[in-house]
């Protein structure tokens, strides 16, 4: 008798998803899948809208990382208004957008680690779910919880100062930005009363890496083996190979570190990336065309970014990066829980970059926008907190958007997340007849390591609970757990 386990919905993530796990007569896993069961449709209803509306409209597909969509769409519109890609903007336009992006990266990484994932690390994957949550963290680790909240607040304030609002602002417009940073804002971010100043943010970012390092040391086997599997890795890198979260060229490496996508212009992404549709998920499966659907899939996000880049252009994060790289002898890191390590190094990098930018006079004066010969098509790429984000638009002579294609970070990580779920299922559920809560949470831990944001990948509203069901060979439900 075979069984089918359904985890629906997945908790401490944003959006709706479910996991199904099929077991054979001996309760060995024969198939496991992460299904994205919601549908958004932004690609369709942006059609017919004026192109300059896209950066404001499309960001509404997410409440955690709207800035990423705002900026990716704005970058595509830069191309359309003839301002070119990243380098074409005015110094003020480029730097204000970068500050917005690093603020976004900082607040989102803080949210991802402290609010959504730290309960698993602080209490243990199989701890009592009654305390294994953000309220439990607040009760048991108050200082840490406050850090998480204040770090997120700092990032959100940066976003407000650059985009106009903490969520769903309007700062980035085709060809640049619509405001400067004021002296008052600058002074506040640099020298505000503790803890809301940049030096405290850098200090706390470093401390968060120490927290992970300590957890890693105590749980080495789990952290290194949990959902570990070889993969390709893809991200933007700066032209000189540096980590750059805002602009650059597309690079991919294989599991051994060999370059398999050689720093190409992302305007040509369709030459390199294909998308496969499978009938059990609303989320598509991207892959590198050259290597096909079976071999061409790749990871994106913090882990992939630190695997593709050559160095990090900020001193403290670079030091951490060197330790990170040394752990795998310079080879790509293929361990899913190390996403958190990479994420926290990026948190530190974002804080350092914010400090550098805040001290730049270009933020406070200079031309805000630029434009050139109008184009009818543009691609905008950005490294969103969860990974590479593609926005591609075409317009007609009347300024109407006629086509939009969005490949979001979660979509890029579709195959890896499915493999992570499979890995956990095979290692922790195979051979078991009764589902335990810890088992259920382990599957969710794997998904959370990659991405707590499922909704933007399908272009939903609401809560995100997780349900696991057990089905027999004839697909009859025999057990179900839901939290």
């Amino acid at each position: 008798m075979t069984k089918k386990i359904t985890i629906e919905p997945v908790t401490r993530v944003e959006g709706h998803g479910k996991v199904t796990i099929h077991l054979d007569e001996n309760n060995n896993v024969v198939q496991s899948r992460l299904h994205i069961v919601e549908f958004r449709g932004f690609e369709r209803f942006v059609q017919g809208r004026p192109y300059w509306e896209a950066p404001v409209l499309v960001q509404r597909l997410c409440g955690i990382c709207p800035v990423s969509h705002h900026l990716a769409a704005a970058k595509a519109m830069d191309v359309i208004v003839g301002a070119g890609t990243g380098e074409g903007l005015t110094p003020t336009g480029d730097k204000m957008r970068r500050l917005m992006h690093y603020g976004q990266m900082f607040q989102s990484h803080a949210l991802h680690f402290f609010h959504l994932c730290s309960p698993d690390i602080l209490f243990g994957i199989d701890a009592d779910p009654a305390i294994r949550n953000v309220i439990g963290v607040i009760q048991e680790f108050k200082d840490l919880a406050v850090q998480g909240v204040m770090m997120r607040k700092y990032g959100q304030e940066i976003i407000k100062a650059t985009a106009g609002k903490k969520i769903h602002g309007t700062g980035a417009i085709p060809g640049g930005i619509n405001k400067h940073l004021s002296q008052e804002e600058k002074d506040g971010f640099l020298n505000g009363a503790d803890p809301l100043n940049i030096d405290k943010m850098i200090e706390w970012s470093k401390a968060s890496i120490d927290l992970f390092r300590d957890y890693h040391a105590k749980n080495k086997e789990l952290v290194d083996s949990f959902a570990a599997f070889p993969s390709n890795h893809l991200s933007l890198v700066r032209k000189d190979g540096a980590l750059d979260l805002y602009h650059g060229v597309l690079r991919a490496v294989d599991a051994e570190g060999k370059k398999i996508l050689h720093d190409v212009d992302y305007q040509d992404y369709l030459k390199y990336i294909g998308e496969e549709v499978r009938n059990w998920s609303y989320m598509k499966f991207p892959y590198l065309l050259e290597f096909g659907e079976q071999e061409g899939w790749y990871r994106v996000g913090p882990l992939a970014r630190l695997n593709t880049c050559d160095f990090i252009p900020s001193p403290l994060a670079q030091k951490e990066f060197e330790e990170f790289k040394a752990y795998t002898n310079g080879k790509p890191n293929n361990m899913s829980l190390h996403y958190h390590w990479a994420r926290l190094i990026e948190l530190l990098h974002s804080a350092e970059m914010m400090k550098e930018l805040l001290n730049d006079p270009d933020l406070m004066e200079g031309e805000l926008t630029t434009k050139g010969k109008k184009q009818n098509e543009g691609v905008g790429l950005i490294e969103a907190p969860r990974g590479t984000l593609f926005h591609h638009y075409k317009i007609n002579e009347k300024d109407e958007i006629t086509m939009a294609n969005l490949i979001v970070s979660t979509t890029n990580n579709n195959d890896p997340m499915n493999l992570a779920v499979k890995s956990v299922a095979e290692n922790m559920i195979s051979g078991e007849s009764k589902i335990t809560e810890g088992m259920l949470n382990a599957v969710e831990v794997a998904i959370r390591a990659y991405d707590p944001c499922l909704s933007c990948a399908t272009h939903a509203l609401g809560q995100m609970p997780l349900e696991i069901s057990l089905f027999d060979k004839s697909n009859q439900l025999i057990d179900r757990k839901r939290n």
């Binding site: 509306e53 509404r60 769903h168 602002g169 309007t170 009347k398």
Partner: protein, 233 residues
């Protein structure tokens, strides 16, 4: 110089120029009567009905009613305010007003009135009409989803020789704003901007300039609609 006319609004003693309408006269006396279709200097249309006041027991549109000596006007009453709010709600359900992605947000008089009336959810069901925008004009985007048929553009935007650039077409419930494509193609930047500015909602958009005004500096970001009038006197 003609002698001023004495009248009262909610018991407040006010003065008006002869021939002045109630709405403009009220504003000159620091009393805000909400309106969406009226622009001082244009011939009043009385189309939006939001400026309804009560005079001698009758509901009258303040923009089309000349002030008369000794007139006693009711303006800020619960009944009138609720009626005005209901009209604003009707305008919201009758069109497709999605403020989050509208470039007029913060400068939109309909949105500002909804905030002033503390509108939360309209009491009427949404109609979600199918309306097609017209993006043909080189400098203007006509967004019919947001048009409230105030006729401000029809009354004020004309060519140098007096031809209408905007007009209504169709009838009754289906009436919609239309732009003369030939005349629109000849509009200067200044004329196009004027057309976009005169529109109280985001129905006439000056192309390629959306969202260039940062949040915090827009007309109603910090000051409620009408607060400039209420500060006068």
């Amino acid at each position: 110089m003609s002698e001023k006319i004495k009248f009262t609004i909610d018991g407040k003693e006010c003065y008006a120029e002869p021939g002045q309408n109630v709405l403009d006269a009220a504003a000159d006396n620091g009393v805000y009567i909400p309106s969406l279709c009226h622009v001082r200097g244009l011939i009043p249309a009385g189309s939006c009905r939001i400026c309804n006041v009560k005079i001698a027991g009758r509901n009258m549109t303040a923009c089309t009613t000349p002030v008369e000596e000794g007139m006693e006007i009711e303006n800020d009453t619960a009944e009138l305010q609720d009626m005005r709010k209901a009209i604003v709600e009707m305008l919201f359900v009758e069109g497709n007003h999605f403020c989050p992605a509208c470039e007029k947000s913060g400068n939109c008089e309909l949105q500002a009135l909804a905030y002033r009336f503390q509108m939360m959810v309209p009491r009427f069901p949404y109609e979600f009409p199918l309306r097609k925008p017209d993006s043909t004009a080189p400098k203007l985007w006509i967004e019919r989803n947001r048009c409230i048929k105030c006729k401000r553009c029809v009354r004020s935007i004309k060519t140098a020789d007096g031809k209408n650039i905007f007009a209504f077409r169709k009838r009754g419930h289906e009436v919609e704003i239309q732009i003369d494509h030939e005349l629109a193609a000849q509009m200067t930047d200044e004329e196009a901007k004027k057309a976009a500015d005169i529109c109280p909602v985001g129905s006439i958009l000056y192309k390629e300039k959306g969202f260039s005004e940062p949040i915090g500096t827009r007309k109603f970001d910090k000051n409620a609609i009408g607060s400039d009038i209420e500060k006068v006197v």
